[in-house]
Amino acid sequence: MARNRRARRLSEGTIHTLLLLCALVSIITTVGIVVTLLTESVNFFRQVPVWDFISGTRWTPNFADQSFGVLPLIGGTLLVAVGASIVALPVGLATAIFLSEYAPDRLRRVLKPALEVLAGIPTVVYGYFALTFITPNFVRFLNPDAAVFNAFSAALVMGIMIIPMVSSLSEDAMAAVPRSLRDGAYALGANRLQVSLRIVVPAALSGIIASFILAISRAIGETMIVTIAAGAVPNLTANPFEGVQTMTAYIAQTSLGDTPQGSIEFLTIFAVAMTLFVITFLLNIVANLVVRRYREVY
């Protein structure tokens, strides 16, 4: 008896340790990434003043006339991310409302997984779809002067890609709103749209905003589509029909090239990655504040 119990306690301890190690993997990795980013960025900023980096409007690290103004990369990233959000947030939310409030059970059970397949398509496929189909057939139709590589088609396709992320998470949040709230509104003579927009969406708002933030973060961090379809020229512009380079596309391009390790060109990768990290981090903080402000607790 006693031995049996001791053996069991021992195995409990082992499992406890194993599970803890698994949990630590992701934490240690995150810490490692942040430390690497920080140390390499510090090396970069020893050579380039922070202010020049943040406020400069020319990004030409590979030219003889080197300039390290990151604004064109940030601008490109924002242009594509905002474009993708304009597509994905309303369509995703509308899809979620349809799935949660309008679709009969059977349709939802088919439609929701079907939508999630969209998220499973490799991004490289989306990238080529944007470049070889959307740009010639749709973007050129809207604006015949659009560049071959342009922010518009990348943003549009990226928006479509993140729709399921918004719709799926938002639908989960809306499905968690108690039925009694809907009944209360229906009993006052509300129609379906009024119940959806005035009761369910406000009650699920924190989940919906969380899905928005996740989708926007994904759009900012997405690499393959923009590398293929948006171009490789840092370009500070608000015109979506021009080519732009995003921060992620620049990192991919430079990492793949023959940039010598330790050179200033090499260090730019970390400086840009650090910028990307800070932007998404701030976005998350803002999102948390917004959620706390507008949350309707039920």
Partner: protein, 312 residues
């Protein structure tokens, strides 16, 4: 109770004029309560409901079901229901658990519509209009036939916005502040919340929340209020408040209340409908009548057994 005279002083029809707001006037019955409902509120509180003269026989039927059957898919939940709900009276529906009381109640405002596979046979008449006729808009019905649920379900909004919700979605062009105050007064909640209308409704106690839900229902000026065990989740003091409120509301509204609490039915209702279910679990009506009659000289032995606590 807060200041019922003051409450009664406002004519709801002067604030908004949705159809049917003057329901009492359309009654052919000339009983005292209906002629002067706005002044007699306080006195009515002291009166036993049963003492109202000619309570049922004379009052016109607000809701009527004719040979109604109700199905959830293949399951027959209600069998052959033919009842009348008199206007400006409290009608209690009692019976053992699972006999279909709530289902019957929800047939009156088509709240069963959203349940897939739900189907109704026969007729449900509201002011002699068939609620289930083709072309009838269920939202229009629910606007005229309000409902209060078993568990208080205030919206996760402010107290004010809860009451204003119904008038807003129905496009009332009114002085909203006044309507909110009026509705909260009628629900006997005004004095408790007047200083904190912008607080969240969920900060209220359970009993206050339920009265808020009643105020919310009153704000759209319905003709009928359906109550599905409105006090079953409340403590005795809050229950008392709800029962007092129901007595006052009878002045203006037709009330149908489902309750598990037999004493409650005896205390507050004018008429009682006793239901039970058969071996196939389909609910049906055993007996209907004046509450006093049903409780003192029931015609059916099953009613007597239920009321005296021998089954159910």
């Amino acid at each position: 109770m807060n200041n019922p005279e003051k409450t009664g002083g406002h004519n709801p029809a002067s604030i908004t004029t949705p159809k049917g707001a003057e329901a009492p006037d359309t009654s052919p019955d000339g009983s005292e309560q209906q002629v002067e409902p706005r002044i007699t509120i306080a006195e009515d509180l002291l009166e036993r409901p049963e003492s109202a003269p000619g309570a049922v026989s004379g009052a016109s039927a607000k809701l009527v079901t004719k040979d109604m059957h109700f199905f959830y898919g293949d399951f027959r939940a209600l069998r052959n229901i033919s009842i009348e709900i008199p206007e400006n009276r409290v009608t209690a529906i009692i019976g053992p658990s699972g006999c279909g009381k709530s289902t019957l109640l929800r047939c009156f405002n088509r709240m069963n519509d959203s349940i897939s596979g739900a189907r109704l046979q026969g007729q449900v008449l509201f002011n002699n209009m068939d609620l289930y006729a083709p072309g009838v808009d269920p939202t229009e019905i629910r606007f005229r036939i309000g409902m209060v649920f078993q568990k208080p379900n205030p919206f996760p909004k402010t107290i004010y916005d809860n009451v204003a919700f119904g008038p807003r979605i129905n496009g009332f062009k009114v002085d909203m502040d006044q309507l909110v105050e009026e509705s909260l007064r009628r629900a006997a909640l005004w004095d408790e919340v007047k200083g904190r209308l912008k607080d969240r409704a969920l900060t209220l106690s359970g009993g206050q929340q339920q009265r808020l839900c009643i105020a919310r229902t009153l704000a759209v000026q319905p003709e009928v209020i359906l109550m599905d065990e409105p006090a079953s989740a409340l403590d005795p003091v809050a229950t008392q408040a709800i029962e007092d409120l129901i007595r006052v509301l009878t002045q203006r509204y037709t009330i149908v209340i489902v309750t598990h609490n037999i004493q409650q039915a005896a205390r507050i209702s004018h008429r009682t409908i006793f239901m039970t279910m058969g071996d196939d679990r389909a609910g049906f009506v055993v007996e209907t009548g004046e509450t006093r009659q049903v409780f003192t000289v029931p015609k059916d032995e099953r009613t007597e057994a239920f009321i005296t606590g021998r089954f159910g």
